[in-house]
């Protein structure tokens, strides 16, 4: 079975539908690009997949060894976060919260893992830096490392390159390509099709009648 299966989904808020009758599948190792204009419900779709809100109709099924816990999320960054006083490693380690349960502290293995993930996104030297003193591209890498700490089978990225200059965007796409090559399923919302589409194994266009190619 596919990793993620959307069946006849209607999504929205408080009974107001934003997306109607959406069907899609994501196989293991796919890179799904979600495109569509502002307000077409792309973020809503990701939020529904993550279980942050219920679908109004239809359902999402997970299979092939994937559960909600295995998905890491890179949200659209909010303004407050950019000025947050915290060290990079504090933020990356917070990705482990989902596995902590009632345990109040991180294990040594988790701390080492966090360092490895930072290395993986090419930001090993940032560990002791202050998050608010980083550039936008560096901040995105840090949040990506946090998402990787939370889950390693699938990544859900909401506009990962927004606000980055072309060079930083290019290197972030290269990073995403690397992660994809390592077998991680990628679901990515994006507005600039030029660099993103070559990565994609499937494209989901929101707005018109939903469907996947």
């Amino acid at each position: 079975m596919a990793q993620i299966l959307g069946e006849n989904l209607t999504l929205g808020y408080e009974g107001k539908a934003v997306v109607r009758r959406l069907n899609f599948t994501v196989e293991a190792g796919d890179c799904l690009c979600i495109v569509g204009e502002n307000g077409s419900g792309k973020t809503t779709l990701l939020r529904t997949m993550l279980g942050l809100q219920p679908p109004l109709e239809g359902r999402i099924r997970f299979g092939d060894g994937l559960t909600r816990r295995d998905m890491g999320y890179l949200p659209q960054q909010t303004e407050g976060q950019r000025h947050f006083p915290a060290l990079v490693k504090e933020i990356v380690e917070s990705g482990f919260q989902g596995r902590c349960g009632l345990r109040p502290f991180y294990t040594r293995a988790e701390k080492a893992e966090a360092r490895r993930m930072l290395q993986k996104v090419g930001a090993a030297d940032l560990a002791g830096r202050c998050y608010r003193e980083l550039s936008g591209g560096q901040q995105q890498r840090v949040l990506l490392a946090r998402a990787l700490c939370a889950a390693r089978k699938a990544l859900l990225l909401d506009e990962p390159v927004t606000g980055l200059d072309p060079k930083a965007a290019e290197s972030l796409y290269a990073l995403i390509r690397d992660l994809h090559a390592q077998g991680i399923t990628i679901l990515m919302i994006t507005h600039d099709l030029g660099p993103a589409l070559p990565l994609a194994t499937r494209v989901l266009t929101m707005g018109g009648e939903g469907g996947a190619v």
Binding site: R69, Y73, G80, P85, S94, Q97, P104, Y106, A150
Partner: protein
Amino acid sequence: MIATLQYYWTFPFVRYALAVGVLIALCASLFGVTLVLKGFSYLGDGLSHVAFGAMSVATVLRFTDSMLLVLPVTVLAAVLLLRGGRRAGIRGDAAIGMLSVGALALGYLVTNLFSAGPNLAGDVCSTLFGSTSILTLTRGEVWLCAGLAAATVGLFLLLYHKIFALTFDETFARASGMGAGRWQLLLAVLIAVIVVLAMYLVGSLLISALVLFPALAAMGVCRSFLGVTVCAAVFAVVCAAGGILLAVLAGTPVGATIVAVNMAGFALFRLAGAVRGGVL
């Protein structure tokens, strides 16, 4: 001056006030960092007004222990504001504002209509500004306050990493399956408890000072979340202890003195930050 302090130190109520005051200020500063960073700076203020309203009602109903009413009502308000506000379609700060003035007005109204006390203005004033009530705590109240405050600090230490995750990125926290809803609920309860405790120390109108000044001072000079938390805690403890001793020595109102010391400390930190940042 040392001799005067030694003389005052022989009175148990001074020692009680110092112990309880420092603990309460410590609690308020720990959670203050979260509140400021989440954009809920005014939550403490709003809740304290709710507590004032509840206190007035408790007084009118002649409750022997007003905390029995004040604590549950404040907890309820905190839960509503931190969790439910999102859904009601009213922006967080506006909801806090409404609840805040509403409770304040209601409390004063109730006191005015039904109060039997001879000194109405004085009673209201002491609830609002704390006056000297921390110096008149009974032994039982001291233990209750100290116990609650100690439990709050203990819980903060256990929940530290969860609080960090929730503060930095609530959406991510909820998506990660850490059970964000339940921790958020616990956080709301703890904040309400602190507000009620703080009302004894500085009175309802001045609580925000205990929440804001330490957090903002620490955020100006520290770069890590741990650093900010520790720095805010130390700042709050020093200012509370200094303020209480100063108030005892000079015979000034405790709450207002603590706030004044906090302001002075904050100015000092800003100056230090500016010097270090090379602005001065």
